[in-house]
């Protein structure tokens, strides 16, 4: 779909630099990969055989040695400053067709979509739900951050997407992931409560504009149309399964407040607190607290919006919500 800037015209007041935004949307996205620490040993053996650096003790993520390997084949890259072991490439035409990819030594994932799992701060031993998990990049980040201790339940309602999830989890050698195929809106409550939940909901994908996938979002003008209803139902269900004191990350790859702040405002009650977070090296804009003439929860200001021009990435909106400890 062709780039239609008019689809975004109504966000003009939310964007600090409209021209920079338009400019960024027209540039192609770099390819971003992150090195999988679970496969460091495999990487070490390959490098050893090829006469490249291989002592894995010196390289926590395996990233440096992976880069040495890919550079030797002519793929130049630079570090993603805020994410250890992640790199961006301007010219890496088929990153899914290398032996390293097949062996799960790295995963290809857009830079902004690395954010939600980081904000979730998974800890070893926890029980974590990734409610709309496929194709599994964020699941993998969570599993790796937990050092395979504890359990990640990765759910997706669509069979074809579940298959992609499973193939990525197996390829990356994730040991602590259980995959389920529930409709998230009716997820069995018995399976919880979860210490943390990642809710990366289906959305209108406006933030993917630079991938050449145009947004299918048309400005609606009224709340709870389009995907907002589904998003609100998913959030309501997830909230019921979250343990007291637990944390939930709600994220979309879209700009529309109708799918972000308004969903949070509609679904969350007094036991929920949207919390600020900061990732050093990334520029975020605050969330909106009024939209379409509606006053939203004041803590919606703590939502982080990552516009394409702020960090030269795709677009993403992320909220960290904490649940009250039970009385």
């Amino acid at each position: 779909m062709a780039f239609k800037i008019d689809n975004f015209r109504h966000y003009v007041d939310l964007i600090d630099d409209w021209d920079a935004f338009v400019d960024a949307c027209k540039r192609p996205l770099p390819v971003v990969i992150w090195a999988n620490p679970l496969r460091r040993e495999v990487l070490g053996r390959l490098n050893h055989a090829d006469g490249l650096p291989f002592s894995i003790e010196e390289d926590q993520t395996g990233g440096d040695f992976l880069v040495a390997r890919l550079r030797a084949r002519g793929y130049e890259c630079e570090e993603v400053s805020w994410y250890p072991g992640a790199y961006k490439f301007l010219d890496f035409p088929k990153p899914g067709r290398t032996l390293e990819h097949l062996l799960g030594i790295y995963h290809v994932q857009e830079e902004v979509s690395l954010i939600p799992s980081v904000v979730l701060t998974p800890r070893p031993g926890e029980l974590i739900l990734d409610m709309c998990a496929a194709p599994g990049g964020k699941t993998a980040q969570i599993s790796v951050a937990m050092a395979s201790e504890g359990t990640v339940v990765a759910n997706d309602v669509r069979i074809d997407r579940l298959r992609a999830l499973r193939s990525n989890c197996e390829r990356l050698g994730l040991l602590n992931v259980a995959m389920t195929g529930h409709d998230g809106t009716r997820y069995p409550l018995d399976d919880g409560p979860f210490d943390a939940i990642l809710l990366d909901v289906p959305c209108s994908c406006e933030g993917n504009i630079r991938r050449g996938i145009g947004a299918d979002y048309e400005p609606q003008g009224t709340f709870l149309t389009g995907r907002s209803g589904l998003q609100a139902t998913l959030l309501g269900r997830a909230w019921k399964m979250l343990a007291p004191g637990g944390r939930l990350v709600y994220s979309t790859c879209t700009f529309a407040p109708e799918e972000n702040e308004m969903v949070l405002d509609y679904s969350l009650r007094d036991d929920a607190h949207i919390q600020p977070f900061h990732i050093s090296g990334l520029t975020a804009s605050p969330g909106v607290t009024t939209w379409l003439g509606r006053e939203l929860r004041p803590d919606c200001a703590n939502v982080s919006r990552f516009w394409p021009h702020s960090n030269d990435t795709g677009g993403f909106t992320v909220a960290l919500v904490r649940k009250d400890v039970a009385n």
């Binding site: 084949r73 032996l99 193939s167 602590n176």
Partner: protein, 159 residues
């Protein structure tokens, strides 16, 4: 689609079979849990599944073995994850052979190929540069059959 529940099982028989078949340098299943779904599939991982009472569980950890047939069959994913230090039932391929193997094509073993001498028949681990890359089948003839799953085969892989 039929949904069968996953249950956690005692993995020792499967770990023992794996050790007998591949003679790994270290026990690759230390601190691992084993799971079974239906009669034919064994999975391995570290996830706790006691909470997952529903039958809509699709996978847990890594699918390791099929035990439904006359011979137990290791999966390619299982070999990549747990077959790295195999000393038996393993064949090392060169670059050219690896490209063919990963594309799902047969690899030819000449009659006088020394690799045949120590290779048992049946399901074998395949290695390139000392790294396990998948499962193959060999019955003593000239052909080593690639068992890389169809959806994971890559033509002309970038090595």
């Amino acid at each position: 689609m039929k949904h069968l529940p996953f249950i956690e099982i005692d993995g020792e028989p499967y770990a023992r079979w794996w050790r007998d078949r591949f003679d790994p340098v270290n026990d690759p299943f230390l601190r691992m849990r084993f799971y079974q779904r239906g009669r034919a599939k064994v999975w391995v991982g570290t996830a706790g599944i006691a909470n997952l009472r529903s039958t809509r569980t699709d996978a847990v950890g890594i699918h390791l073995l099929r035990i439904g047939g006359r011979f137990w069959k290791p999966t390619s994913a299982g070999i990549v994850a747990f077959g790295g230090s195999a000393r038996a039932s393993v064949i090392d391929l060169d670059r050219h052979e690896t490209v063919k193997f990963l594309a799902g094509e047969d690899v030819r073993l000449a009659k006088d190929d020394v690799r045949r001498e120590v290779l048992p028949r049946g399901f074998i681990a395949v290695r390139y540069h000392g790294v396990a890359i998948g499962c193959a089948e060999w019955h003593g003839g000239e052909v080593v059959t690639s068992l890389i799953p169809k959806n994971q085969r890559i033509k002309k892989i970038d090595l």
